[in-house]
């Protein structure tokens, strides 16, 4: 007879670990199952961890978690072939408690976080793949792993198995992705001495910088690139939706190579040593792609529930919050000894009432708009670069004349009406 737990959580990413931690803290008997060699061993993230949601789970986590750097500057680049228009914000208050957000290396962070869950009483097993949910009379009663004697039972199974979530697909909660619902992102960790990073990014000890790069970073396709500073390495990565990749016949590796050798970026990486290479999907379908998140004896959290805000590159925070909300629903269900869908729907209600679904709803058309009208990244970024170049080049032309000329160039390129339409559409999508 297989052993039985109160909760089995599948996947020790931010979502699963938050859930396991919260359940264990309240005294539930929790089993956390991870397929990697250890939590985080294969997990991929650009690397911005948001303070707020993590703090709600472990207060003052920054005092002990393996973080890379607190982010004190965020830059946004509109990049063309040989130029860039940039804006951003740098604030020293972000370098002090309670901080805004941090860069992290997931291999370190996830391990630490999982250890916290274990200290709270959860049981963690690694190198074990959950093959399927065990279902009896329409209720999920446990999971089957790939190990000999591998069945194990629970009142509730929480699926935190990441973007692909085969398990929720098996339950019919999910369908296969459409190519415009996911982005394929590749990234590299490039080792670089601390001093070099500080010099190149104009940082001091324990200060971090993030750069989001639009435009030529994806050769004008829908997607973005990023360059983040860790303690002694940089994370550089780029992703586009699968659909644009297919349409433009792009190979993700080529795109990353292109980015790394781009004249605006190369100087930052000079002399670095490539340490790790990773590829991963990001759910970008947003609000409309969120699947069913609760069933009889089962909940879906994090990327598995497609909870990612692609525009703001927020994912880990939504994963954590959803994991916590799921845990709270499980704890209540346990008290009521009712693990039916209607009981577990507490989680769904909490989710839809939270910032997560509100944010996702706000941007529900954004990706779609950008996908459908490629001119935003393809045309406007170069246009902005030309305009900036014109404006800032000192050649004796009065500034007023320059502005006029810039406007003239822009409208002739895209047509006055077309441009207004674009601006309106974009505003509507993100308003």
């Amino acid at each position: 007879m297989p052993e039985k737990f109160d909760v089995i959580v599948v996947g020790a990413g931010p979502a699963g670990t938050s859930c396991a931690y919260t359940c264990a803290k309240s005294g539930l008997n929790v089993l956390l199952i991870e397929r990697g060699e250890y939590p985080g061993s294969k997990n991929v993230m650009g690397g911005v961890l948001y303070r707020k949601q993590m703090e709600e789970i472990i207060p003052e986590f920054w005092k002990e978690a393996p973080l890379e750097r607190p982010v004190i500057e965020q830059r946004f680049w509109m990049m063309d072939k040989e130029s860039v228009v940039s804006f951003g914000y740098k604030g020293l208050e972000w370098g002090m408690e309670p901080y805004n957000n941090f860069t992290v290396l997931r291999a370190h962070f996830d391990q630490w976080f999982a250890r916290k869950a274990v200290e709270a009483g959860a049981l963690l097993i690694n190198e074990t793949v959950v093959l399927e949910c065990l279902v009896e009379n329409g209720k999920v009663i446990g999971v089957r792993t790939d190990r000999p004697d591998g069945d194990i039972l629970a009142d509730v199974v929480v699926l935190a198995d990441g973007v692909n979530s085969l398990l929720s697909k098996q339950l019919g909660f999910h369908k296969e992705f459409r190519p415009d619902e996911v982005a394929l992102t590749v990234m590299e960790v490039v080792n670089l001495p601390k001093d070099k990073i500080n010099d190149r990014f104009n940082l001091e000890e324990n200060q971090g910088c993030t750069i989001e790069i639009f435009g030529d970073s994806t050769k004008g396709n829908l997607g973005t690139a990023f360059l983040y500073t860790n303690k002694e390495s940089l994370n550089i990565g780029v992703g586009t939706t699968l659909s644009s990749m297919i349409k433009a016949k792009l190979k993700p590796y080529d795109l990353l190579d292109y980015l790394k050798t781009h004249p605006m970026i190369k100087p930052y990486l000079e002399g670095g040593e490539s340490a790790e290479y990773l590829a991963h999907l990001i759910p970008e379908g947003g609000y409309r792609s969120v699947p069913r998140v609760a069933g009889n004896g089962v909940l879906v959290v994090g990327d598995a529930a497609q909870l990612v805000n692609a525009i703001h590159r927020e994912g880990s925070n939504m994963a954590m919050s959803s994991g916590k909300m799921a845990a709270e629903a499980v704890i209540e269900a346990k008290q009521a000894n009712d693990f039916s869908e209607s009981s577990l729907n507490r989680y769904k209600d909490a989710l839809y009432g939270s910032f997560i679904m509100k944010d996702l709803e706000k941007y529900k058309d954004a990706a779609h708009v950008f996908e459908k009208y490629p001119q935003y990244l393809r045309d406007y970024v170069p246009m902005m670069n030309r305009a900036a170049s014109k404006f800032f080049t000192v050649d004796g032309t009065p500034k007023r004349d320059k502005q006029k000329e810039i406007m003239r160039n822009m409208t002739s390129e895209r047509g006055k009406f077309g441009m207004l339409q674009d601006i309106y559409r974009a505003w509507k999508a993100v308003k």
């Binding site: 089993l31 049981l123 097993i125 074990t128 790939d146 190990r147 000999p148 004697d149 069945d151 194990i152």
Partner: protein
């Protein structure tokens, strides 16, 4: 049957990096793992236990983090784990290691007599293979190294039949229990551990002993003090000069190479078996 397997935590040399400036190990780069040979040793013990019944204990000397490899051994199927961990053990070479481990083995034997000790052929960090025979000498039991098969364990007669790898081929050896084996990787393949073992390992907490728990110990034989060998210096292997590069197109390179080879009559001859008739 009470089998004790000695297991060591080692840095994974597959991913190890050396800092070229200081010639020291970049610890960050190397995750700690169960010495692969010791995993085979535990697996070998599991197989013997299947036939003879009994119990498997594992013993390790190392820092507190070595608990992880004891848990790993429980996953493979060990029943109990002991870790001896103390600053006094630090810096031990193989002589001091075998001394400390033999003291712990004696203590374990006081709780439950030991019939068989199994070690890995060598640890992939030190690469010596000296600790196993050293333990055997200290316990005065026969060591059998390079074991590729445990063919028979006769509990009643207290004998074992063993295949030991040799330079070419193997030898079949019979010896008495208790004895000590060091095993090659060929002896088995590590099985995928059943889920109940995983759960047991996740919950398991090994017994941890300091020097003071080991009873009568001669402290001068422990750790750095008890180690006759020291590392004098570390250096990167001398670079060799390299020879001549053959230039030109690939056709030219090939024909130059053919000329060179044909010149070297000391190495290679063309037998002119005449086909003319």
């Amino acid at each position: 049957m009470h089998i004790v397997v000695c297991v060591k935590q080692v840095p994974d040399t597959k991913i190890i990096k050396i800092n070229p400036k200081t010639n020291t190990l970049d610890r960050r780069s190397a995750p700690a793992i169960l010495n692969p040979y010791d995993a085979h040793a535990v697996q070998a013990a599991v197989k013997i236990r299947e036939e003879t019944g009994g119990m498997i204990s594992v013993l390790s000397m190392g820092p507190p983090q070595a608990v992880a490899i004891i848990k790993k051994s429980i996953e493979i199927g060990a029943d109990r784990g002991y870790l001896i961990s103390d600053r006094a053990f630090a810096g031990a070479d193989t002589l001091a290691t075998s001394y400390a481990l033999s003291k712990a083995l004696q203590k374990i034997a006081n709780e439950e007599p030991i019939d068989l000790v199994i070690c890995g052929k060598h640890a992939i960090d030190g690469d010596t293979g000296q600790v196993g025979p050293g333990i055997a000498r200290r316990l005065d039991i026969p060591p059998i190294t390079n074991v590729i098969e445990v063919s028979e364990v006769n509990k009643a007669e207290k004998t074992v039949l063993i295949k030991r790898k040799q330079i070419s081929g193997y030898e079949l050896i019979q010896t008495q229990l208790p004895c000590l084996l060091t095993v090659e990787k060929e002896i088995n393949s590590i099985l995928y551990s059943p889920l109940p073992n995983m759960l047991r390992a996740a919950r398991y907490e090994p017994v941890i002993w300091a020097v003071s728990d080991l009873g009568e110990v001669d402290k001068t034989q422990l750790g750095l003090k008890g180690s006759p060998t020291i590392v004098g210096k570390m250096f990167t292997p001398p670079k060799l000069e390299g020879g001549k590069k053959l230039e030109g197109s690939s056709d030219e390179q090939v024909s130059q190479l053919m000329d060179i080879l044909m010149e070297r009559k000391d190495l290679l001859k063309l037998k002119e078996t005449s086909t003319a008739n």
